[in-house]
Symmetry: C2
């Protein structure tokens, strides 16, 4: 286990990590700071208060227990949004509201995968979001195996009537770039290219960085009934194919035949929603800091790390500021975006991120900064900021974050994630509290994305970092520069 | 990670752990020892030869790749038996044979579990082997939750029409006693007690020592169509129930309603088989050492740790002796037992173990010792022996095993496992090369029991320990005393 670098800060504030308890008695609010307290000093107070609380963990525990999976556009996502709004109101947030938007709904059907020959056995596979359907009885075909995606895309092999299988693994990295190297190509483009070449099905090694028997779902291009059936297989099943490839090369195994059943439904237009809550700024309320995560999840797990953790961390950071009774100068807006995970037809952007960007476009010139938490529940190790006008701010935020084991990235932030991306593109400055993603893709988008994947101590570190950083931005006059032209 | 105590031995023999390759060129046979080599010296030669080979890993890799899951009585178990026999012949074993026996076959059907209320969500569950069926459309009922098995068995609550849910976790231990504490009660007896009290279904927290989203199957009492539907839920799902219990106690959640679908089939009488191969003793061939593992597996994974590893380890230990070209004095018999996992009606013993015990009863007085490997693929840490007539033997075996990180247990062996149990009960001495089982029940009986759970280096340590120990018994005159009356 890696040392937890914020041990010293923790030790100062928290003698023993209490086991998380749902509905524990509310913690004593942090005493109101004297009016004259400097923002940098109050940031330290907030950081240490956050380390003593279990607010984020308790929130994600209750969210995942009450609502389980929260697929985009589902009754469960809606109920979770209503419950979240009620929680925000009970905590004392301002202007709590739910904003709906339409989206096209894809729903998983029956699914199974079987090797018919040469070595009959059941395999573990799950359909990609937005993928097409097989007939109810499935499709049986010969497999066309490719060890890398490049070998597939550059091959001229006849794929007519075959099931394409891509065996390329995903490389674990702290930043997630190993995942990014495969998600656009193997998962998003691959199925449609296979279809255009006459394939009747598409299988890919899961975009997972582990070797356990979970298949990872995730969005592919949404083509409705036109799309090819596409599934992800678990990493051990991909390795099973690799061993058979070797046996084939030694003349010890015949061709692979597969039977694939995947019957998702295209339910037409449904509705999703964003949940929004604010702490109105005391001095310059029109200046807005937007933070949040996404409330929807894939349907296999309970969306604890993707992205129950993110909504809980940003909510709890704002709550820490709210509970301190010292109002920030600027407005802090927390958004629980809906429908982050799903693909949409013709790449129409019916996501919560785009709904927010459309609704609040006029306000963008007043968006001081935006940030999202959508990379699991491991510790934050770096803060990546946009270009700022205040070296003093950068010094102050460094001083409050370093004791948590977080450095200030010298490179200028190149954006956050999918939910702040429309803002970033529109010129809103976006920062990134970078989390350690080395283990994130072990369980992301699998049935194993459940509360047990979250370490309460690490979540507290996230909340502390967010509370201190957001507070400092909200209580100083620092300005940031977006990368795209300022709106 | 714990240090591997046989590092020194390894370093002497093996510069780099070569990646396992199926069908690698056969390793050079260990040069024939001079005729006069002392058994204890030859044991060291065999131990170190085993550490250099990948025979066991290659065997279990090919077994699990070619046959996947090998449920008792299935075509896959039969094909694996035929392939194993062919492998034994190709390696040069004597008297290779397959011995069939009848058994009653249970086959998993459709299965799903859903919480209908208060918090609708899908749960991860799998039927227990031998359990009864729900109607095709499933059964919906209120849950009766018990945090421990004792609370269930001592309660007088009305269970009529309810689904019993037992939340008792399994404690991880090196020896496996934490599992033993639950398997007879929670898994074997519980469903039938629930049925007698009018319950329409039975759910139990998986006998798993992890917190991932796998449900563990395993045998319960086989009552055919009379039995109650019974399933194991994954540990995170059990913890979901625990959190709901807490919300109920706080008045924040209503009663739990569940919908359970499990439609296994009882296919009647089928056939299974034991595979047997021998190295005939050079001087006292009638004196027999019986070793082995079981070839069948549960249907969810590919039975790599349970018990592909065990058949591979014992096969490879015997092969190491065979390849040395120095014949042992006594006969070494390797048995791949069939149908270890399954329950049978009225506790009729139609297992491979009982078939073997029945077929070879007359030979038991000549069975010097028996031993099985059926506890995964982690290192051996102790040798537990029956009472022996030779302190010199005990000294010698200690000297060859200690460098592998294995001590000699001072307590007299109290048996091996299920496949040697009929022999033990009939007075045959049984030894136990005890493996570290701390992680074994993390993946045992789940879809995750696949090749990736096996560390080739640790498997080699097992083979080295088995080869040296079996050789020393087979090439000396040591005698052991069974615990039951000598046959």
């Amino acid at each position: 286990m890696k040392p937890i670098h914020f041990a010293a800060v923790l030790a100062a504030g928290l003698a023993v990590a209490a086991p998380p308890v749902l509905h524990a008695k509310p913690k004593k609010a942090v005493p109101a700071a004297p009016a004259a307290i400097a923002p940098a000093d109050q940031a330290v107070v907030l950081r240490d208060a956050a380390l003593k609380d279990n607010n984020a963990y308790e929130f994600v525990a209750e969210l995942t227990t009450r609502f389980g999976a929260r697929p985009a556009g589902s009754a469960s996502e809606k109920a979770a949004a209503e419950w979240s709004a009620a929680q925000f109101k009970a905590m004392g947030f301002d202007k709590v509201r739910i904003e709906t938007f339409p989206l096209e709904i894809w729903q998983r059907g029956d699914e199974s995968l079987e090797m018919v020959g040469p070595f009959p056995q059941k395999l573990v596979a799950t359909a990609l979001g937005g993928s097409g359907t097989t007939p109810a009885e499935g499709v049986e075909a010969e497999a066309a195996l490719f060890e890398t995606y490049e070998q597939f895309s550059s091959s001229t092999a006849d794929l007519k009537g075959k099931i394409v299988v891509i065996l390329q693994p995903t490389v674990a990295t702290q930043t997630g770039v190993g995942y990014g190297a495969n998600s656009g190509s193997v998962r998003r483009q691959g199925p449609e290219i296979a279809r255009q070449r006459g394939a009747v099905g598409y299988l890919m090694r899961s975009l997972g960085t582990h070797d356990h028997r979970f298949a990872h779902t995730g969005g592919t291009r949404f083509l409705g009934a036109e799309g090819v059936p596409a599934m992800a297989i678990s990493p051990p099943d991909a390795e099973q194919f690799e061993r058979i490839l070797k046996l084939q090369k030694q003349g010890q195994a015949g061709p692979i035949r597969l039977k694939m059943v995947s019957t998702p439904k295209f339910l037409g237009t449904g509705q999703s929603q964003n949940v929004i809550a604010e702490i109105t700024g005391a001095k310059r309320p029109q200046e807005i800091i937007t933070i949040g995560g996404h409330l929807d999840s894939w349907d296999l797990g309970t969306g604890a790390i993707d992205d129950g953790a993110g909504v809980a961390i940003t909510m709890a950071a704002a709550k820490t500021i709210l509970d301190s009774k010292v109002r920030p100068d600027r407005t802090i807006r927390v958004v629980f975006w809906g429908s982050e995970e799903v693909s949409q037809p013709n790449d129409r952007g019916l996501s919560g991120a785009n709904a927010y960007a459309t609704a609040y476009k006029a306000e963008f010139p007043n968006h001081v900064i935006a940030a999202e938490s959508d990379f699991g529940a491991d510790v934050v190790y770096a803060l990546s900021l946009p270009e700022s006008d205040s070296p003093e701010f950068v010094k102050q935020v460094g001083n409050v974050l370093y004791p948590l084991g977080i450095y200030i990235d010298k490179a200028v932030s190149t954006g956050g994630g999918p939910d702040t991306s429309p803002l970033f593109s529109a010129g809103v400055p976006v920062m990134d509290l970078q989390q350690d993603g080395m283990d994130y893709f072990d369980t992301h988008h699998t049935p194993d994305d459940v509360l047990e994947r979250i370490d309460p101590i690490k979540v507290d570190q996230n909340v502390a970092a967010w509370a201190a950083t957001v507070w400092l931005i909200a209580s100083t006059e620092v300005k940031f520069k977006g990368v795209a032209p300022k709106p």
